[in-house]
Amino acid sequence: MIAEAGLAALWLAASLALLQLALAAIGLAGGKTELLSAVRPVAVAQGGLTAIAFALLIALFLRSDMSVLLVVTNSHSMKPWLYKFAGTWGNHEGSMLLWVTVMGVAGAAVALFERALRRETHMATLGGQAAISLGFYAFLLFASNPFARIDPPPADGQGLNPLLQDPGLAFHPPTLYLGYVGLSVAFSFAVGALLTRQVDAAFARAMRPWVLGAWILLTLGITAGSYWAYYELGWGGWWFWDPVENASLMPWLAATALLHSVTVLATRDALRAWTVMLAVIAFSMSMVGTFLVRSGILTSVHAFAVDPQRGTFILALLGVYIGGALALFGWRVGAVREGAPFELVSRETMLVVNNLLLSVILGLVLIGTLYPLMTEAFGHKVSVGAPYFDRIAGPVALTLMIVMILGPLTRWRRDRMREVTRRIAVPMAVGAIALVALAVLAWGKIGVLPFLGLVIALAVAVGSVAPLWKRNLRRTPLFTWGMVIAHLGCAVSLAGMACDSAFTVEKLVAARPGEVVETAGWTLRFKQILPLAGDNWTALQADMEASRDGGEPVLMHPQSRFFASPPTTTTEAALLTRWNGQLYVVLGQEADAGRWQLRIWWKPFVTLIWLGGFLIALGGAMALIGRERRGWLLKWRARKAEEAFA
């Protein structure tokens, strides 16, 4: 019954989306404004129904209802409940249902909470959101029904990929998804504004919180995903430039650019066409990423079910939505008035440069990701990996970081070069000192990029807090704090990346139990190898004691785990976190009789990478809360004043 109810909710939601689109279209184009008042309730109902459908699918997974095909293929009654729960979206159909649910709920939120937007644009936006949702409803209902039954029902399910049985992976994809799909709101805003030709500062102020929200979640998702890959894959790296990772990075880059350009539009009413363009691109990148991951046209270590038919469906959606939005852009943007002018030395220019550099990185990542596809069309098989991306994106990103010092210290509209130079003097001095000190200490020992990375990270760290200089900290608005924290997060993250690539010490040995391995000031005593059994796995575990400078030894347990169904081996790295770095131990295979392969890394300050990512998201959250609270306060004061006047 539950499955049927879920399917019914989905069909009903799809028909409401159609109704929502029709109401908005007829209301706006046909001038029947009385129809428009029905759009918002329909949007809310549609969002509610998708949420119900998703909740019902969760219920099916939690109850291990083996008459539902999706539960059979992705779950097992013996699994811990957390993974039953997470199994709901750990597969193609479930994740697509999550996709439309987020889209529907976001649409409902826009209908309920958006007050700043003009009415026509608001309605056009809701119509746009319904139009995008419709395509994904069709995809779900016709090509990937999550509620399909299986008859006769088997006794039990086929388990879940053991790689997915990990708390990190249970929750980082949905976070990422919330971000991806959250960008659909910005896309709909852009489409709505193009339709009503109302692209201005008020529009930007209305769009900003939605972009910010999606961007925060994307940031968190990418940070968590990077940490997951770091400890789960056991390769010691934190970013592999894999197509799946690039698919999440590209929307983030576009959203980051959008976040900055929307601020220019909101504050100074400039960059109108460009901001609309970016809003379209950001969600387009989400869809392209999903397509690349789902269609299997690019091979990746994070395997997903490859299905060309589904790929064709998503490709068609891509063509209709992105192509349609870009055509609308070309057709309508001529009618958008040019925004306000600004001087060459101004914060606007800095933000334009920021946007330009982010777009360049985005383009470079896109080209690198798709290059294998391009060459394959001509019969060559190539792979593009870290060497390309590091070499190409590294220098541009570092340039971007320098602009990050300049931007917040430059005034809106017009500034003087001399003034700006004076303000950036302290961060630049810190950078110069760091440059000299590092050059003396480590010249020739570390690569050029990590070297520059460390120097720039220090300069940015100082530069990012410089806007607070001589300000009353208690009266500084929360969103300014947000910007400071987010920029500081970038510096922290960059410092972590640079430290990791500059100072990591790696040791690869074959050792017998009882032997002692020394590396980077650590002493590791390899005590013994023990067999171990878990719920659905068996493992070999090494017992090791790590100590530093004669300190208290700490136990570490790297494992090599074997899962029976489906047969898979995973490495469980052992991590030991200290304030100044992480010790990372991986157990390999038996080298020969009695000797085991051990791979040990000492990674100084590597944790800063994810701490930085977290700070960036935190800064975003502070900015979001700060802006919303200020808007609310202003309204409240206005009402008070009105009452007092009356």
Binding site: Q158, I281, L318, G319, G330
Partner: protein
């Protein structure tokens, strides 16, 4: 200039779109068609893989009536997904034999008990030798064998629900 710039994103996107489409439409070279289609089966004689089914040799597939030869393994997840379709084919009167790849008898027995047993004979190919001789690259795969023991059709991957009528047609036309 501005006019051109405005349409540039659309043009770029159409370029990428074409690229994606060509990437998708390129024949999936993952599927390797056996050169043996139209040729007689290679000679083999395999021991029994299940405790309640007889062993399988190539001569037993030339019975004057088309048969289906299914390559499967108890450790293979898609094989379990394919089981209902095989049962449906059996119910439609198709005679099915099987080769279990790199398997062990208790595992095969457990697999058949759980997912149903549509097979007349099951041979055990412990080292994938017959599988390779057949030009098969993975499990599951199915071969339509005509009445004279020649391979009429090779189906790579699991037989899905939509494939069942096609398989029946192939069997009918194989004679």
């Amino acid at each position: 200039m501005r006019k051109l710039l405005i349409w540039l994103p659309l043009v770029l996107f159409l370029g990428f779109f074409g690229l994606f489409a060509s990437g998708l439409l390129r024949p999936d070279d993952r599927i390797i068609t056996s050169k043996l289609v139209g040729k007689p089966l290679p000679a083999f004689a395999l021991p029994a893989a299940a405790s309640d089914r007889p062993p399988l040799a190539n001569m037993q597939l030339a019975t004057g009536k088309p048969r289906l030869l299914n390559i499967f393994a108890s450790w293979c997840v898609p094989c379990a997904a394919e089981a209902p379709q095989l049962m449906a084919l059996k119910q439609a009167g198709v005679e099915i034999d099987a080769i279990a790849i790199r398997d062990a008898r208790p595992d095969v027995d457990a697999f058949l008990k759980r997912y149903g047993n549509p097979y007349a004979r099951i041979g055990l190919d412990a080292r994938s030798e017959v599988q390779i001789a057949l030009g098969s690259s993975g499990v599951p795969e199915s071969f339509v064998i005509d009445g004279r023991g020649r391979i009429a059709y090779q189906h790579v991957g699991d037989i899905r629900e939509d494939d069942v009528p096609m398989i029946l047609n192939r069997l009918r036309s194989a004679k």
